[in-house]
């Protein structure tokens, strides 16, 4: 990236600076929920249904109440009058969407294993855990609905009052006749079905909640390990009926989220209610096993995708049909998750006709919701796997089929068949670069040699190219999708009297490195040291306005707000500087922290001088208020559309079925980069998270709806030992959507990598007669597929 190409001042933006967050995080100085010292706090433990579906015929709390230290035990009935509203679902995607009442403590019936049926309040964490064992619940187990197909059949209707397990159907078919005609005229018609297994998000820090009430003045502070302190404040006020001005929400250091902390959870509202009731602080810390059942899960959908193409493999239509698993209840944005992918099932290919339909159903499993990528990994997976199938049908290479269909660069901004406008893109160079990085031709030759030699270790190369929509989101677009909130972001930039800077952001970082990046944006413009910029966030008393962090929105929306607030504060500083220099403000320029008059370099005043003058207010121009501070709220006019090409190289041991990831290359484009090291870090983590879905992770449920992978020994989150050195590079195609020309990168790796690995796995196995593999491609599953295809050395 050369400076002349960018809107930046040529300062620190673009430097691979170490993260200023890390010393506190790495030394344990940073405080997470469980580190908070709250004298006199009561501990909460949740009695959770061990059954996926059961009627509650009675709850005997007497033994629990006899445990030393147990203060109270509440059932759902006991607390029924506590709630002003059920737990919120903010995304009623259709007007007739079915949304069952969902209260923090279940009443009458438990609908998934993990559903809270009673709560123990005790003077210590240990007493609360002992109390749990004393609560005796009389369950009447009912048939559990575990699969989406079973759910759709309505064999057992989970929420009887709704009359069906189908929550909604959501179609996006701009031209139905066009789609039908395209399929009729198609030379090649590929139909593929894929299943996205349930994934259990596993941030390093599970969830935790602490609530500190002030019973006499009515204030209440909610500490939560959340991605969304601002949204949570509004929702908690509505759900519990607490006056919003009395409520303060703080997300202290948060150890990762990946979407699973983008929610309003039962335990948050419950702890608030109990703190209100008891008049003392109340806290709860989730255990890892508890997290596996009570924190939302990701993916969980069955997809059918059909491609129509002409004889050359040029796509003429794409039709995608989903059956999505919402779990037992609708969490905060769950119904909208499939919609975030709904516009992208044609990938980055120029396709005239498009059809998408999603049906979402309830099951007796943990509720699902947004998980890193949220809808877009699913969409990318479907189109990218299907493109490989089309390549086979047409008889061309998997690289060539993509190149033939990429949206041509000259078509940007591109009016997509699903109704979006893709902001900018240049796809072929990314694929070319990724092929170069992996050594495509050499690897293809090696694969051919091994096949010719009858080797039993099979090489497979898999491409996944992607475009995604992120930077959530234009508020008007959200309105058109029935989302209950906007997608703006707020920022304040404040130059203090000593010329140190405070930045207040409505983004709520939980591992991303916003403090570093926001400091760099402001420091670059003001010409100060990034260490002189302090970023304040995640406390609604300090940062009252915000829409928080998810959907790869923080830089393109929140960062843009900071950019604009910086410009606004510079404008005001220039007015004061001009007064001091007896010049016109428009003749001034700010370079390296000094205001000077264009053409008269000797006439200058440092920003520090202006800052102090603004503070003393002794001699300000008429009509100019003291102090240097500016607040901006930015509502983006469009999403941003990052893209790239990923290639995985795997080696499969025919005898055991083991898949070894040998090499991985990616060329991504997120527009201009603020800190390339952070971009790489996001890609490393994101790519591994996507690979994990392909090879390791799976929430395994038995036919009774019991999770058989509820701990980190059974749920296979990869560790550093499973990772490989990746070959990463990037192209830069700035977004025209925002002044910095940036796009998001937080989810891109996860969106791209799953399909790359699975395409590589199938490519490796194809000579053995295997044409499809379900995820995860475990050694046993691969071996079974080889055997089923009639091949394989023993």
């Amino acid at each position: 990236m050369t400076v002349t190409d960018t809107p930046f001042a040529g300062g620190v933006v673009g430097e691979a600076r170490l993260r200023k967050e890390d010393p506190a995080l790495l030394t344990g100085e940073a405080k997470f929920i469980d580190d908070l010292e709250l004298p006199g706090a009561l501990w909460v433990a949740c009695v959770r249904s061990p059954h996926a579906h059961a009627r509650i015929n009675g709850i005997d709390t007497s033994d629990a109440l006899a445990v030393d230290g147990v203060i109270a035990v509440y059932t759902g009935t006991d607390l029924a009058d506590t709630w002003a509203a059920p737990l919120p679902c903010a995304w009623p995607v259709t007007d007739d969407m079915k949304n069952p009442d969902h209260f923090p403590v279940a009443q009458g019936k438990a609908n998934y294993a993990g559903d809270i049926v009673a709560v123990v309040v005790a003077t210590s964490r240990y007493a609360a855990a002992d109390g749990l064992e004393g609560v005796v619940v009389d369950y009447e187990p009912l048939d559990a609905v575990v699969s989406v197909e079973d759910a759709e059949s309505d064999r057992v209707v989970i929420h009887e009052d709704l009359g069906t397990n189908v929550s909604y159907e959501w179609p996006l078919i701009p031209d139905p006749e066009g789609v039908d005609a395209a399929f009729e005229a198609a030379t090649h018609h590929v139909t593929e079905t894929y299943v996205h297994q349930r994934l259990i998000p596993a941030p390093m820090e599970p969830r935790g909640v602490a609530v500190v009430p002030a019973p006499h003045n009515g204030d209440m502070t909610l500490y939560s390990s959340t991605q969304i302190p601002h949204v949570l404040k509004v929702m908690a006020a509505l759900t519990l009926g607490v006056p919003e001005q009395k409520l303060r929400v703080i997300a202290p250091s948060v150890g990762g989220g990946f979407g699973c902390k983008l929610n309003v959870y039962a335990e948050e509202i419950l702890c608030m209610a109990l703190a209100q009731r008891h008049g003392v602080p109340v806290r709860w810390t989730e255990s890892r096993t508890e997290a596996a059942g009570s924190t939302i899960q990701g993916r969980a959908q069955r997809q059918t995708i059909e491609l129509a193409s002409d004889a050359d493999g040029k796509l003429t239509a794409v039709r995608a049909t989903l059956l999505a698993d919402m779990g037992a209840y609708l969490q905060l944005v769950a119904p909208g998750v499939p919609l975030l992918g709904a516009f992208l099932y044609h990938g980055l290919y120029d396709v005239p006709f498009y059809s998408f339909t999603c049906k979402s159903v309830f099951t007796n499993l943990t509720p699902t919701d947004a998980y890193r990528g949220a809808g877009r990994p699913e969409a990318t997976y479907a189109i990218e796997r299907a493109m490989d199938a089309l390549a086979v049908a047409v008889g061309v290479g998997t690289d060539e089929i993509r190149s033939r269909n990429f949206i041509p660069t000259e078509k940007f901004p591109y009016d997509s068949p699903a109704g979006l406008v893709f902001d900018s893109g240049d796809y072929q160079p990314a694929l070319d670069r990724a092929k170069e990085l992996i050594g495509w031709d050499t690897r293809m030759a090696e694969q051919a040699e091994r096949r010719a030699a009858g080797s039993t270790t099979h090489l497979g190369l898999g491409i996944s190219t992607y475009v995604e929509m992120c930077g959530l989101a234009p508020s008007r677009v959200l309105a058109s999708l029935n989302y209950a909130a906007g997608g703006w972001e707020s920022a304040t930039v404040r130059i203090l009297p000593t010329c140190k800077i405070q930045v207040v952001t409505g983004a709520s970082p939980h591992g991303q490195g916003h403090e570093t990046c926001w400091s760099m944006i402001v420091a670059d413009r003001l010409g100060v040291d990034p260490d002189d910029v302090e970023v304040l966030h995640s406390d609604t008393a300090i940062s009252p306005l915000g829409m928080d962090t998810y959907g790869s929105r923080s830089l393109s929306v929140g960062g843009t707000a900071i950019w604009m607030a910086t410009e606004k504060v510079v404008e005001k500083a220039a007015t004061i500087a001009a007064h001091m220099l007896e010049a016109n403000p428009e003749d001034l320029e700010l370079t390296g922290g000094v205001f000077s008059v264009k053409g008269s370099p000797e006439a200058e005043v440092p920003l520090a001088g202006v800052a102090f003058a603004a503070f003393t207010a002794h001699d300000l121009p008429d009509g100019v208020e003291p102090n240097l501070e500016a607040q901006v709220t930015w509502d983006p006019p469009n999403f941003t559309f990052p893209f790239g090409a990923h290639i995985a190289l795997v080696e499969i041991d025919e005898a055991t079925g083991a898949v070894d990831l040998v090499d991985y290359a990616a060329c991504d484009d997120c527009g201009n980069q603020i800190n390339p090291m952070i971009v790489e870090g996001q890609l490393h983590g994101g790519i591994v998270q996507g690979i994990a879905q392909a090879l390791w992770e799976e929430a395994i449920y038995d036919e009774d709806g019991q999770c058989r992978s509820a701990n980190l020994a059974d749920y296979l989150v990869p560790s550093a030992a499973e990772c490989i050195d990746m070959k990463l590079d990037h192209t830069v195609t700035p977004s025209p959507t925002n002044p910095m020309g940036v796009k998001g990168i937080g989810e891109a790796g996860t969106i791209a990598s799953t399909a790359a690995v699975m395409n590589a796995v199938v490519d490796a196995l194809r000579p053995l007669g295997v044409t499809e593999m379900a995820m995860p491609a475990s050694p046993m599953a691969v071996r079974r597929a080889i055997e089923a295809a009639g091949g394989g050395a023993s």
Binding site: A128, S287, A655, L695, A713, A721, S778, P779, M780
Partner: protein, 271 residues
Amino acid sequence: MIPAAVGYVRADSTEEAVAALREHGDEAKLLAGGQSLIPLMRLRLARPGLLVDMGRADDLRGISVDGDTVSIGALTSHSDLEHSAELAEVCPLLAHVASQIGDPAVRHRGTLGGSLVHADPASDLPAAVLALGGTLVATGPDGSREIEVSDFFTGFLESALAADEVLIAVRIPISTGGWSYQKFNRRAQDWAIVGVAVAESGAGVSLVNMGSTPLRASAVEAAVAGGAGVSDAASVAADGTEPPSDNNADASYREHLARVLTERALVDAGA
């Protein structure tokens, strides 16, 4: 993940430990590195009334070679086994197997004695010791006795140790012949889905996670001793086993893996 209340005493010697076990009977549980017991307690699957912590009994830690026997104190950590230059010389199989356990944190805390006494069929070290042969030294109220390794594992998570006995040492013959350890798992830190240990070019062969106890692959040993080729010897690796089924592998896949890995181990060990 909150354990139930538990009593605690520290035993700095074998005698103190034996006395505590005797006094408290079934209530008491010996704590070494805690890598199996503590997780079970946190899940409340184990609820001992008293922990007898031997973690600081330093006389039970260390590796020594006397003639053709290696003696290893029961509290010697996996990490000590992994990094011992002496062990690498006289019993490279054991040093290597120790390096394949869990992750560095587990290897620093976990002990050889703890792993053997826990008798988990999925653990690495019991199988390695089985392949190597030798004796285990236990001390109880009536003094010490030696137990043949092949007699030690009596059932699922059960050993020949009496409730008031403490395992104090492992004595194995020096073993520098061809060896191999084939551990098959999906992540480096995991238990073996199946593991195969080969000592002395196939004279000793054992299996991990192929039944309710760590197993000797007697049929393979006999085939090797009888001069069978590697593939023929490996083809009987799963004979007589009753492997478990779980998320990662059903019984028949485990049997298949046992054969594949045994062949690889035998080849690797130069059988």
